[in-house]
Symmetry: none
DNA sequence: TATGAATGAGGTTTCATTCAT
DNA sequence: AATGAATGAAACCTCATTCAT
């Protein structure tokens, strides 16, 4: 591996701190309303340093996107689900995991939805993210349903986007365990009917 | 009513033009990245005039929200749906209307979702909008399903938020009639299973 | 003509003041070392206003070039010279006028020579300026010399560029009438030999 | 002399490389628009190192001036000219050498003319350079002309500054041998008339 | 009502310079 | 000797807002 001396190591930490701070600030205020000073302050440095590590504020945004990719997180939600259990508990567990992961990545997701409406690159990334996010559930279900491929794909997309919306507009503000469980329970029941 | 002389009338027109232009620009660039000059140009006037009609750029945003309420539009989607027809065609028609209305109000909706993540007032409005938007479908269905109130409410919310998401991420970019109809068709089929 | 109200007239004055101030500052410090604040201060306004009238600092530079064109000034130097007088006094008068004009436009010329070495557009303008500047003397002489066209052109260019150099490196710092007259006198004597 | 160990030797090389790189960059962009990073990159090091060898960017400029004196180069132009040959070929050869030397030192000369207009120290150096540069030709000619000292001095200055101007504005961009030879030829013919 | 000149605060970005390693 | 992380001042530029006309 590369040898980094102490100085360089500290530099790398600073760079990472800048990315993390940027995520926090961007998601709180939106990209445009976030100032480089905000971000630097959050990271405990000065704004000039941002330009030592990134070409522009925009590039910092992309560094945030790169570092905090959601996809691994989404895949985990499925991996941690045992495929031998009954569908109902499988789905309950999966959706529980999903909302859990979304909550862990609240900042990032909020930022994505805020910027996606105007930055096409972000929107494309978001769409690919969702497509990617559908796969785990799709593969979990494709051998256990009467729906054909097309139908299953749509069912999975609908249920999952509905859940993201639920997260964005309700769950992340209440963070109430009971409400969430009840929501998941009922949603699973109804989803099972679709799967047949 | 007060009678407006010619000058006042022209003024009112200008004010309305400013609001409409603001909607267009806000939805295209986001509130923060929109400049008063952008808006004025779009309206065919000069930026100074904005401050004759509105206290600030922020106030102009609220004027946009006030003027372009989505609720009537959503209600229409249900009103134009005859309650005596079979559920399937009723839902097909309703969802068709819904996507149609969303497309008509693309600018507004995009703006709402862009700003809702950071302006709490906008988020609250968006939530209330969605709650309001659920009512027509809820009332259309409540006497024709085996689901209890709670279940129906959730089912309606899930299906409808899924559809808004579909609109935001896909439909508004493709605007392909066939794809949309196919989407609606399959979604309705699956929704019918939930309604039982 | 266009009607300008008082406000617009004042605005035009401000714009012109900005251009003149820019010339002063650019020629004193060079383009790169001149700050927009410097220029604004010199003009008695604030730097923001520069961008009301000009797209960028660079565009302000071009506005300076446009407004303070040297060519009319150069042409005048010849126009004021009566073609019926003996060559010697004609040349003496012409060169006197030339140095006089150069002194009047010191700022501009110094700026040109400073920037021409790196801004190709400025260099081209400078070259065209010099070519243009040669014409009056050329037309004054072409019927009164044994030189052919080619030779005369070169003679005129050499003598005139030498004079500009003299101005740039000596005359503009001493501004001593006697020295200048003596320089002109001897130069004319030698130039007459060339003309034959 | 002091003996330099390997490390010191390498250091000296680096310092020289920095000076040469600075010359290149300064002449290309001008002093103000040149960054320490530019210079360091050109030299294959990092900007911090400049401050190990020089107090400031300005001091580096003076180091450039010190190292790259033009005077020896100018003197060479005369030294390589045999005084026994006819004036015409002598002058032809001398001016050929002069343009050749100027081309060799393009960077330096361009930098001088760019900065001379605002840095008085540079201007003084440039003037002294020109005065110095006139001497070789003056001494070459003083016994072979009817002109008195004063007249010869002026003739030499005029012809030589004209030639520098020719170099700055034309020759260095075209670098066309034929054009240059033709220019020199005609110029020499005319200069001979002055010398009488 | 409408214009657009003017302001001033503040944003992104650049850069000479310092300094720990 | 050499690196490059870090600083902080200042540059260019943007823009909401005010206001005289």
């Amino acid at each position: 591996m590369e040898k980094l001396n102490l100085r360089q190591q500290k530099g790398l930490e600073t760079k990472n701190r800048l990315i993390d701070s940027a995520l926090k600030v961007f998601s709180a205020k939106g990209f445009d309303a976030s100032t480089t000073k905000d971000i630097a302050k959050e990271a405990g440095t000065t704004d000039g340093l941002i330009y030592h590590y990134f070409k522009s504020k925009e590039e910092l945004l992309w560094a945030v996107v790169d570092k905090h990719s959601l996809i691994p997180s989404l895949r985990d939600a499925a991996d941690q689900t045992d495929p031998d259990v009954p569908l109902e508990s499988l789905l309950t567990k999966y959706f529980g995991q999903l909302l859990h992961r979304l909550n862990e990545k609240t900042d990032l997701i909020v930022m994505f939805f805020g910027e996606a409406q105007r930055k096409p690159q972000i929107r494309e990334y978001l769409v690919s993210l969702i497509e990617e996010g559908l796969k785990p559930l799709y593969f979990l279900l494709k051998d256990r349903t009467a729906l054909n491929e097309e139908e299953l794909r749509l069912a999975v997309r609908n249920i999952q986007t509905a859940m993201v919306m639920y997260f964005l507009l309700y769950d992340r503000f209440t963070r109430n365990e009971e409400t969430r469980e009840s929501y998941i329970h009922t949603t699973v029941q109804q989803f099972l009917k679709i799967l047949g």
